[in-house]
């Protein structure tokens, strides 16, 4: 008895001490994370060093143990995922690019958020089971949408509908409740009801308050009960991105949010073909300093394989090379249909204007005399890359859903297979098909059918990673290429998406309806080529359909 009482007393004593340590830890955490973010910033660009990254890794590693032992399981898991990311960077030969830098900073921010939202700090060992696998789960920072809406039913409806698409919502009843610090992280958009009982125009006033609380460039979406031009003008002057009149059409709201939350453009990719390593280096360094990714090829015979794998926006090519001239190379490149549109810029020590013009005749887009000074090279290359991308967008993307078209997704898949093959990595391909889509069209008309197709595209974009490639294979069939992902993980992710999709209410003239989807997943290296991967996913999809639809199956698994 005595022993038991003593035990309990000491447990209580320890709990009290832990409470103190937790408070202490939370108090110091923001400064600690801030210091780590600064350390990470100093590693950016030229500051990159393996030693610096290793020191940062050790700090993050330490945080896992401390946060977890104090019971902040959520934060410990986030730190663990960040650790995995850092380890991968340490193993890589190249310093990380801008996207990766931004991603790591996001992880640090999430850690801070997680420490606050971890309500129950009782240590639960099951929180830490399978910890080794945490890092490989598909991390998705959900897009946060802040909603300021006094009217309860509308707010609830909005939360429900947006929730199905993977948005995270934070609701406020009044604008004044949304002050600095009350919003959990930087939102992708703020939806704000401007309706006021006496019909006042409050757009500018409201917009100022939002910007004071959340920063200058947060997109604003206004909802109002006024449809007159005066009210719309007020909203435009307040700088809103979109304006909806109540009762709102939810698919329009979704389309707007989808547009506002599209991922940031990737850095431009430039392929440098030059047999003089020093000149190539000079150009690569100038471009990379401006955040542009480069790959250098010194042997012209390697150009074709790099084209497929690196998918450059612009090719910077030396005219005089041993083995084959730049002009000949350009002709070869232009013979490949996939690369007809890639701008080629010739470089030469040549100042003879006539020879330059001849080069342009062979499919070159411009001619620079080398070495090209950085302040000329960077804007010239960026402008061409930009134009090339816009053109490609029209050629490659499906107009309705904004996803890649058939031929393009196959190319992307082939590049992904090559990468997985070389790095002995993983790769999964999922094929999705909407169940009974023909009936939807027959019953509700093609416009409603198109809404369903778009809804699935929005959902895929919200729920999948930036590195996943999404395509519409035609009709109601979609393809997702997921690099660094095994079949099991892909199956889980797609099953999540299947459940989400089934919960979405689609609006039609005579009320709303729901639809389901079926999906098949193929994985590398069980299937070794793009052709085999598609066939494997297709076979699994066929079995999913035949087995009763509304399910996701992995190729090779029993039904």
């Amino acid at each position: 008895m005595e022993g038991e009482r003593e035990r309990r007393a000491s447990a209580e004593q320890l709990e009290k001490e832990l409470e103190r340590l937790r408070a202490n830890f939370l108090e110091k955490l923001p400064a600690r994370l801030q210091a780590l973010v600064e350390e990470w910033h100093s590693l950016q660009g030229d500051g990159w060093s393996q030693d610096g990254a290793r020191a940062l890794h050790r700090s993050v590693h330490g945080l896992i143990g401390t946060a977890g032992s104090l019971g902040f399981a959520k934060m410990a898991k986030t730190a663990r995922r960040l650790e995995r990311r850092l380890v991968a960077l340490l193993e890589g030969a190249q310093p990380p690019n801008r996207n990766v830098f931004a991603e790591v900073i996001e992880w640090f921010e999430r850690m801070g958020e997680d420490s606050i939202s971890d309500g129950d700090t009782t240590f639960d060992p099951s929180s830490f089971e399978n910890m080794a696998e945490w890092g490989t789960t598909l991390f998705e920072p959900r897009n946060l949408i802040v909603v300021v809406e006094q009217e309860d039913p509308f707010a609830r409806e909005l939360a429900l509908r947006l929730g199905h698409f993977g948005f995270e919502l934070q609701m406020f009843k009044k604008i004044d409740e949304m002050v600095v610090g009350s919003v959990i992280r930087r939102p992708a958009a703020v939806i704000m009801d401007l309706s006021s009982p006496d019909g006042e125009l409050i757009g500018e006033e409201v917009a100022t308050k939002v910007r004071d609380a959340l920063g200058e460039d947060v997109p604003l979406v206004f909802v109002s009960n006024r449809s007159d031009i005066e009210a719309r003008l007020d909203a435009v002057r307040a700088g809103c991105s979109s304006y909806f009149i109540k009762p709102v059409n939810y698919s329009d709201v979704l389309e707007t949010l989808d547009r506002l939350t599209r991922s940031e453009p990737e850095p431009y990719r430039i392929l440098i073909v030059d047999d003089e390593p020093d000149t190539a280096d000079f150009h690569a360094t100038s471009l990379e300093a401006a955040g542009i990714e480069t790959v250098t090829v010194t042997d012209p015979l390697d150009v074709m394989s790099q084209l497929v794998e690196f998918q450059p926006d612009v090719i910077l090519m030396d005219v005089y090379m041993p083995g084959c001239t730049g002009l000949e190379m350009a002709m070869v490149i232009r013979q490949e249909e996939a690369f007809v549109g890639v701008p080629i810029v010739f470089l030469s020590r040549e100042t003879d204007r006539m020879k330059q013009i001849a080069a342009l005749g062979e499919g070159g887009d411009d001619f620079f005399t080398k070495p090209v000074p950085p302040d000329h090279l960077v804007p010239a290359v960026s402008a061409r890359a930009q134009r090339g991308r816009t053109l490609r967008l029209f050629m490659e993307k499906d107009g309705l859903t904004g996803l890649f078209r058939h031929s393009r997704i196959i190319e992307q898949l082939e590049a992904a297979v090559r990468r997985a093959d070389r790095q002995h990595g993983r790769l999964a391909v999922a094929m999705l098909d909407i169940d009974g889509f023909k009936e939807v069209n027959d019953e509700h008309g093609h416009l409603v059918g198109d809404q369903v197709l778009k809804a699935l595209a929005y959902l895929l974009r919200q729920r999948l990673r930036m590195s996943d490639v999404l395509g519409r294979f035609g009709g109601d069939e979609y393809v997702v290429v997921m690099p660094d992902t095994d079949g099991r993980a892909a199956l889980q992710k797609m099953d999540d998406i299947r459940r989400n999709f089934a919960a979405i209410d689609h609006e039609a003239v005579h009320g709303s309806f729901t639809v389901t989807l079926s999906c098949g997943v193929g994985e590398f290296p069980a299937a070794l080529t793009s052709h085999e991967l598609i066939a494997a996913a297709d076979e699994a999809l066929y079995r999913a359909k035949r087995g009763g639809r509304n399910q996701v199956l992995l190729a090779g698994d029993p039904d």
Partner: protein, 130 residues
């Protein structure tokens, strides 16, 4: 050294927070006398003065790693002083590798402060009960 009940524990980890959590947990619940240090070198320096019954050492430390500390402690003058690793490493192969070095046990971080003292007691009894 060689006492039947576990009394004195020497603990090393380069992370001050985790050191504090472990120390308080071992003192409050286990009633042990605990001495802490933030590096393997300091731990080795303090061995003869503090005369611990058991040593707990973090595996991943910047200058001297846990296994390096263990290598030193294995020398005859320390006479089978039990060493427990504390580690955040959770890959199965690495974990097996740590066990194979011959340490008394490996405790994973994060750990539950409430049961840490019991676990250390269990490790101690397991060794002395043979």
């Amino acid at each position: 050294m060689g006492s039947i009940t576990l009394q004195r524990i020497l603990l090393a980890d380069d992370e001050p927070d985790i050191l504090e959590i472990a120390r308080i947990a071992l003192e409050t619940v286990g009633g042990f006398e605990v001495s802490v240090c933030t590096s393997g070198e300091t731990l080795l320096d303090r061995l003869s003065e503090f005369e611990p019954d058991l040593v707990i050492v973090d595996v991943l430390m910047p200058d001297m790693t846990g296994p390096e500390v263990f290598e030193e402690i294995r020398r005859p003058e320390f006479d089978e002083l039990p060493v427990v690793y504390l580690t955040g490493v959770i890959q199965e192969e690495e974990l097996n590798g740590l066990h194979e070095t011959g340490v008394a046990d490996v405790i994973l971080k994060p750990f539950d402060p409430m049961t840490l003292a019991d676990r250390i007691n269990g490790i101690w009894k397991g060794r002395n009960g043979r």
